[in-house]
């Protein structure tokens, strides 16, 4: 079918109205700006002068951002690029004082830049920013020098602390809930705020000592970052290499690192993985089994098992 020829008037009206942005173009613009904003800074904390394809970044910036009398397009974009990195690095800095202390400032900084470049936030809250740090350390050990396993386990403990701090506490089960239940089919759920860890170092003591003098985690806000000034990493005696099992949990809204005996850890881990009570009891020795009643009394007081 032939398309009708445009009239002069419609052509003229088309000329007088500038082309309007489409939603697809809006999306492309946001992708471009986000890529620029989230791109790692140089060692001097400035925006990179070369784009991913080696085009000068100033040319890329000028393609979508207006300059003004005082700032070039590059400089205006750089404000956002720097703010992004100040914000996310500050968040990891505050949430992982233990990893920082283990690695030292410089290696920690390099690790966090590499981590954040590989794992940008996929959550509306900065609380979840470090969720994959321990996995990243295992996957890319080059960032942690000789302290791969120590820093990985410390990252695990510090993430567990975050989980224990504000995860849900469900209604605990009571002895009445268990009456008449068959151990062969009874499955006990651990509270969502409990994280079980098996560590090669006594990192609980180490982290407690570190946190005694450190700041609380910052709140979210809509303020821009001033230039960051940090307290120097504290000098704490290195963690003692001795295996320890922990339950990181919350009681009366305070986070605790409760040490577990190997049998307790085995039993709780089995329950946590969905084993029935009878199956979980099969994970421990007869000697350990003789103490199970006392263990469960303690855990019941702490409200560790939930109804769903």
């Amino acid at each position: 079918m032939k398309r009708s020829k445009r009239t002069n008037s419609s052509a003229s009206s088309k000329r007088s109205r500038p082309k309007r942005q489409t939603t697809a173009e809006l999306c492309s613009l946001q992708r471009l700006m986000a890529a620029a904003v989230m791109r790692p800074l140089t060692a001097k904390q400035r925006m990179r002068t070369e784009w991913m394809d080696d085009t000068p970044t100033k040319k890329v910036a000028a393609s979508f951002i207006k300059p003004n009398k005082r700032l070039t397009s590059f400089e205006r974009l750089e404000i956002y690029n720097r703010q992004y990195w100040f914000r996310v690095q500050e968040c990891i800095y505050e949430d992982y004082p233990g990893v920082r202390a283990v690695l030292g400032e410089k290696r920690f900084q390099n690790l966090t830049i590499a981590y954040l470049a590989n794992h940008p936030s996929t959550s509306f809250t900065l609380r979840n920013l470090g969720r994959y740090l321990s996995e990243f350390i295992a996957a890319e050990p080059k960032w942690t020098g000789d302290e791969i396993e120590l820093s990985r386990q410390m990252a695990q403990l510090e993430w567990a602390h975050i989980e224990a701090f504000d995860n849900e506490a469900r209604t605990p089960i009571t002895p009445a809930d268990l009456q008449g239940k068959d151990a062969g089919s009874l499955r006990l759920k651990l509270q969502p705020h409990i994280v079980l860890l098996e560590l090669d170092w006594r990192l609980d003591d180490y982290l407690i000592a570190l946190r005694e003098n450190s700041r609380m985690r910052r709140e979210a806000s809509n303020a821009m970052e001033s230039f960051i000034t940090h307290d120097r990493t504290q000098t704490i005696r290195p963690p003692k290499r001795k295996p320890v099992c922990l339950a990181v949990h919350r009681y009366n809204n305070v986070v605790y690192y409760k040490r577990l005996k190997p049998g307790q850890y085995a039993l709780l881990s089995a329950l946590h993985h969905g084993d029935s009570l009878a199956e979980a009891l099969g994970q421990i020795t007869p000697k350990q089994a003789s103490q199970v009643g006392v263990w469960f009394q303690d855990w019941a007081v702490l409200g560790w098992f939930s109804r769903r």
């Binding site: 500038p18 309007r20 942005q21 489409t22 939603t23 173009e25 809006l26 999306c27 613009l29 946001q30 992708r31 700006m33 986000a34 904003v37 989230m38 393609s63 979508f64 951002i65 207006k66 003004n68 009398k69 005082r70 700032l71 397009s73 400089e75 205006r76 974009l77 404000i79 956002y80 703010q83 992004y84 914000r87 996310v88 940008p120 936030s121 996929t122 959550s123 509306f124 809250t125 900065l126 609380r127 701090f165 504000d166 995860n167 849900e168 506490a169 969502p192 705020h193 609380m216 709140e219 979210a220 806000s221 809509n222 303020a223 821009m224 970052e225 001033s226 919350r250 809204n253 305070v254």
Partner: protein, 282 residues
């Protein structure tokens, strides 16, 4: 304070942001404060101390929720999990209105955690307004959008920032959280007349006003919320209430936070301007 449908027909006065360094003072001294603004994201958790603290605050104070990550202007669809958590908090706080920013900050599910400026285009206004309406319908609470401080402008923009704000709020039929400090910051960064901005907004839609301090550098101003409010911002505040009437006002102070009393007294300076306005014969 004028009540309107955008602030839930409430009559709130001068409030301040609820911040960690002041918790102990607030809970132990129980100071008289008209209302507190909370950052929603700080309390969108499943348990623990944040919610315990919020319960204690709610026993004694009126609380209004302010968000930093809804990103109405992002082309990403609304995050349903985010909305569900937000609704749970709305039910807990009974916030009479809820605010977030007229900005974007995530794309393809990746979050910058920044308030990135919008290109002022009709496509962006239409998309943003749709997402505001969807959010309001889901949360069942009036929404007010806040103008942000910005440091960049786009070639593709088809209108001024205030025209864009008008376009969005008319399409969404929502309120405005008018941040007069942000107008000042952006007017310096982009070289426009802040009073032209103020005189162009639909005053009847102003649900709340923000005031704050900022940091001035050689070539630009950053919205750092770490200082007292400067006189030119107070002058903008005076004009804002002249147009919108004495409206629920909140001081933001988020970094280098001084004592509770210093922050509260800074916020209460707004009363001088309200009294001056009320002293002028109609």
């Amino acid at each position: 304070m004028p009540a309107n449908r955008f602030n839930g027909f409430t009559d709130y006065g001068i409030g301040i942001g609820l911040r960690i360094p002041h918790y102990q003072h607030i809970l132990s001294q129980k100071p008289t404060v008209d209302w507190f603004e909370i950052i929603s994201e700080n309390f969108m958790v499943d348990g623990g101390r944040p919610l315990e603290l919020l319960d204690k605050i709610l026993e004694q104070y009126r609380v209004v929720q302010h968000g930093v990550s809804m990103y109405f202007g992002s082309t990403d669809p609304l995050n349903r999990e985010h909305l569900k958590k937000l609704k749970r908090l709305v039910k807990q706080t009974k916030t009479p209105w809820l605010s977030d920013h007229l900005c974007w900050g995530s794309v393809d599910g990746r979050y910058t955690h920044d308030l990135l400026p919008m290109p002022y285009t009709f496509a962006a206004a239409k998309l943003t307004a749709r997402k505001i309406r969807e959010t309001r319908d889901f949360l069942e609470v009036p929404i007010a959008v806040e103008n942000v401080s910005s440091y960049a402008e786009f070639h593709v923009s088809e209108m001024t920032e205030w025209e864009f704000l008008n376009e969005v709020v008319e399409r969404a039929d929502c309120g405005i959280l008018l941040d007069v400090n942000n107008i000042y910051v952006s007017s310096f960064n982009h070289g426009f007349d802040p009073f032209e901005y103020l005189n162009s907004i639909p005053a009847a839609r102003v649900a709340q006003i923000h005031i704050a301090g900022h940091s001035k550098y050689r070539k630009y101003i950053l919205d750092t919320h770490d200082h007292a409010v400067i006189d030119p911002v107070w002058q903008l505040y005076a004009r804002a209430i002249e147009r919108a009437g004495p409206t629920a006002t909140l001081l933001e102070w988020d970094a280098h936070i001084p004592s509770f009393d210093e922050v509260h007294n800074e916020a209460l300076k707004a009363n001088q301007f309200i009294r001056q306005l009320q002293a002028v014969p109609a």
